[in-house]
């Protein structure tokens, strides 16, 4: 297990460094001047030059990169140009909202997808299975910018159950979580179904039945556990995406997460904040994937980590 961790950590560092390096050079390549965004078009040229110098933007790019990497190693990501505050603090303020929404969406997806996938597999070819296919098609086809307002109209405006937007209390989390979780639920329910169908034909299930286990136990303990391994892989990858890719959902529900922060940072050419957000996102991805690998062992005890 220790060896496994060490090996994965050795991969983790270059992966994250690669991501932030690419973003560092890309963000500096796109047109737009952060100094002008900060000072406004009307500012004096001398003031712009002074600020450019102060921020180190007048230095050659490789020196700026060296400084940036040194800062990352020391845990200092610099100050946000737009908010004029340390990047780490700006991001830290958004992280709870991001994790909250990602977890909630994940939970929604899990609650819908796994039972639906099981029912669909066990009732293959029936009306229930067809209904599940329809749900999956709808789920992946409905864009969040459309589904979000639709849910708002139904549950906030017409029924008055939940607030339209903003973050505050469990009620405000429901609609964004459903919006974000629906597409994932659609994918996961199909995966659960097909993976479970494959397992249902295995001989070991007949052995389990022959031992006198109830059908429920056969399915839940023997078939489903094995069937969930590919599902967990996808869930792990998707959770990383949920942490970073909820931009549209965050925008629709005015949810103060990392996605909108990153978009605003790109628009404002706020280099340190963009880099900080990307660092957070890439770290989230690799850590969630590491966690996914550990979950394999939990779901299927046959899988062991070797150093």
């Amino acid at each position: 297990m220790r060896g496994f961790f060490l090996r994965r950590s050795a991969i983790l560092i270059p992966t994250v460094m690669g991501a932030i390096t690419l973003v560092f050079f890309f963000i500096h390549m796109i047109p737009g001047d952060p100094v002008e965004v900060m000072l406004g078009e009307t500012a004096q040229q001398a003031d712009k030059e002074t600020l450019r110098e102060e921020l180190g933007l007048n230095l050659p790019l490789h020196i700026q990169y060296g400084r940036f990497i040194k800062g990352v190693v020391q845990g200092d990501l610099g100050d946000s140009y737009f908010y004029r505050r340390p990047v780490t603090r700006v991001i830290a303020e958004r992280v709870p909202a991001t994790i909250e929404l990602a977890l909630a969406a994940f939970l929604v997806a899990g609650i819908i997808a796994i039972p639906l996938g099981i029912v669909s597999a066990l009732r293959e070819g029936t009306v229930l299975d067809n209904a599940s296919v329809l749900f999956s098609l709808l789920g992946v086809s409905m864009p969040n910018f459309w589904l979000g307002p639709l849910l708002i109209i139904l549950f906030s405006i017409e029924l008055g159950w939940f607030p339209v937007s903003g973050r505050g209390g469990v009620g405000s989390l429901v609609l964004p979580a459903i919006t974000l979780g629906t597409a994932l639920a659609a994918i996961l329910s199909r995966m659960t179904r097909s993976s479970l169908l494959e397992r249902l034909g295995e001989d070991y299930l007949n052995v389990a039945r022959a031992k006198g286990l109830s059908e429920w136990k056969v399915i839940m303990k023997h078939a489903l556990r094995n069937a969930l391994i590919p599902v967990i892989t996808v869930m792990g990858l998707q959770f990383g995406a949920l942490l970073s890719g909820a931009i549209i959902t965050e925008n629709v529900f005015s949810w103060p997460g990392i996605g909108t922060l990153l978009i605003n940072a790109i628009e404002a050419r706020d280099y340190p904040l963009v880099q900080g957000c990307v660092l957070f996102i890439s770290l989230s991805y690799v850590l969630v994937n590491l966690l996914t690998d550990i979950l394999y062992g939990w779901v299927d005890p046959r899988i062991r980590f070797r150093g």
């Binding site: 003031d47 307002p149 937007s165 505050g168 469990v170 629709v252 628009e267």
Partner: protein, 514 residues
């Protein structure tokens, strides 16, 4: 499987974001984007500038017509061409209880002028030689040279002397409301200042909510989650807003000027006749009626709106006249190769932002130009890229707007040959020695009548040369719940009148924050 449920308590633990109820009566205002800073010494964004007068008092404020009116200045005198004396109201206090004095005024402006502080507003005070405190309530500004527009630079909010620099919480002000909460990207909560020198506001609080998504803003208005939207309702949604019970839609003439800009160094649009032809080819009136749903007024001036004292309406006009447009193009040496056939005289690149309305308008303009044999390739870019191209002169034709123009000295910044970016906003690289001379003269002239004549001449020359194609002045549009009375639309979109509004009958839809 049951272990999956373990996530639930964690989720519930996390789901305890900000919430609360504001006491008393207040108003919830929807904003369409974030505010980077509220510190008046640094705030250059439109949203912060519009909220600023609620928190900070200044020597002058802009009134609903965009005119300068004294605020903290009880009286003021221009002692000579370069000296201004201000006497402050006595007994005005900052939100922390300290009295506002001449030293605070001096400190605020000295801070901005100090290059070490990196204020984006420093350029407006280049002409200031020194600021002298005469006594506790009197302050004198001495300029290096005549700069008649200087009073416009005195609308910056005054903060206490020694206020810290670049902090999350901006310094206190002495305005009608005190800043209570500011969550960047989420909300700004202001509470009434009971000691405001012009009397306590009638509302207890103002809650600004950042709602970047247009549909969400509209649905929040319908649900009753917000009470006021100003200039952030698209034209297509006005009908929807009017149908909401208890909501009033108000529109008033605004000063936001929409135009087409040209690159004067371009071999095609560098021709005056081509620009004149394009101006004649576009039916602005039809665009206003159909695309903007009547929420604009056709522009008959250049940059300045008829509300401005220096506005000149008697300039060359370019009414919709495709026949005339074709004549101009022929005269410019661009005959139509196949009459009404598919071949174009020439093709232009038209740059615009990714804003939905701007793209839609660009497509309409493309249709109009096609009728006179001019091809238009519409290219929409993300804002930063688009604006960078415009400043670098990397364009043929673009469309943008000027917002909140009150000082006619802006012409210097837009059309003087020394104002090419990055020194100004003469993005089209327009060069005209006569305009340069007139602009320089207008800056030095203290006689308002003479300045008006100079600006009239400037506007006539600009219109005659079709430096810009004037499209329209956008109306200010406000959607507000009917229970709120006394709201006044300001030409520049400031929220200043929130200090005077009140709730009729004491009823309000809701006073709780999300």
């Amino acid at each position: 499987m049951s272990r999956f449920i373990l996530i639930l308590p964690l989720l519930l633990l996390l789901a305890c974001g900000p919430s609360g109820t504001l006491p008393g009566k207040g108003i919830r205002v929807g904003l369409d984007g974030s505010i980077s800073t509220l510190d008046p010494r640094f705030a250059v964004g439109a949203r912060a500038s519009r909220i600023g007068p609620l928190i900070y008092s200044s020597l002058f404020q802009l009134d609903e017509k965009g005119r300068l009116t004294p605020d903290l200045a009880r009286t003021w005198f221009q002692l000579d061409e370069v000296t201004y004396l201000f006497r402050l109201h006595k007994g005005v206090c900052f939100h922390d209880g300290r009295e506002v004095t001449a030293e605070d005024v001096q400190a605020t402006f000295s801070f901005i002028m100090d290059p070490r502080n990196g204020s984006p507003k420093r350029g407006s005070y280049e002409s200031v030689r020194r600021i002298e405190v005469i006594d506790r309530y009197s302050v004198r500004f001495i300029l290096k040279e005549i700069y008649v527009s200087f009073p416009y630079a005195l609308t910056v909010g005054i903060v206490p002397k020694g206020s810290p620099f670049r902090r999350k919480s901006p310094p206190v002000g002495s305005g009608p409301f005190r800043l209570q909460v500011w969550r960047p990207g989420e909300e700004v909560v202001l509470v009434a200042n009971p000691n405001y020198f012009e009397g306590r506001p009638r509302l207890d609080w103002v809650h600004f909510r950042i709602l970047a998504n247009t549909t969400t803003r509209l649905l929040e208005m319908k649900k009753g989650g917000i009470d006021l939207l100003q200039n952030c309702v698209p034209a297509y949604a006005v009908k929807f807003m009017r149908r909401i019970p208890g909501v009033r839609v108000i529109k008033e003439r605004g000063i936001t000027y929409q135009y087409l800009g040209y690159n004067m160094t371009d071999p095609i649009v560098g021709h005056k006749e081509v620009r004149q032809a394009i101006s004649h080819a576009i039916d602005s009136d039809a665009i206003i009626t159909h695309t903007l749903k009547g929420l604009a007024v056709e522009a008959d001036g250049v940059v300045l709106s008829p509300l401005n004292w220096a506005y000149e309406g008697d300039v060359s006009r370019y009414d919709y006249d495709p026949k005339r447009a074709k004549e101009f193009l022929d005269a410019a040496g661009f005959p139509d190769p196949d009459g009404d056939g598919p071949c174009m005289r020439f093709s232009l690149s038209f740059k615009t932002s990714t804003d939905m309305e701007s793209r839609e308008i660009a497509q309409v303009i493309k249709g109009y130009l096609k009728r006179v044999g001019v091809g238009l390739e519409v290219r929409s870019f993300e804002w930063g890229t688009f604006f960078d191209d415009i400043k670098k002169g990397n364009f043929q034709v673009y469309s943008l707007r000027w917002i909140g123009v009150v000082d006619p000295d802006i012409f210097y910044y837009l059309f003087h040959s020394s104002s090419f970016p990055p020194n100004g906003a003469n993005r089209g690289r327009y060069r005209n020695p006569e305009v340069d001379r007139l602009l320089e003269e207008s800056r030095r002239s203290a006689d308002k009548g003479r300045r008006k004549r100079l600006y009239s001449r400037i506007q006539k020359i600009l219109a005659e040369n079709a430096v810009y194609t004037s499209l329209w002045y956008r109306d200010n549009l406000v959607v507000i719940r009917e229970v709120f009375k006394g709201f006044q639309i300001y030409a520049g979109g400031e929220y200043t009148s929130l200090k005077d509004i009140y709730i009729e009958g004491g009823e309000v839809a809701s006073s709780s924050r999300p």
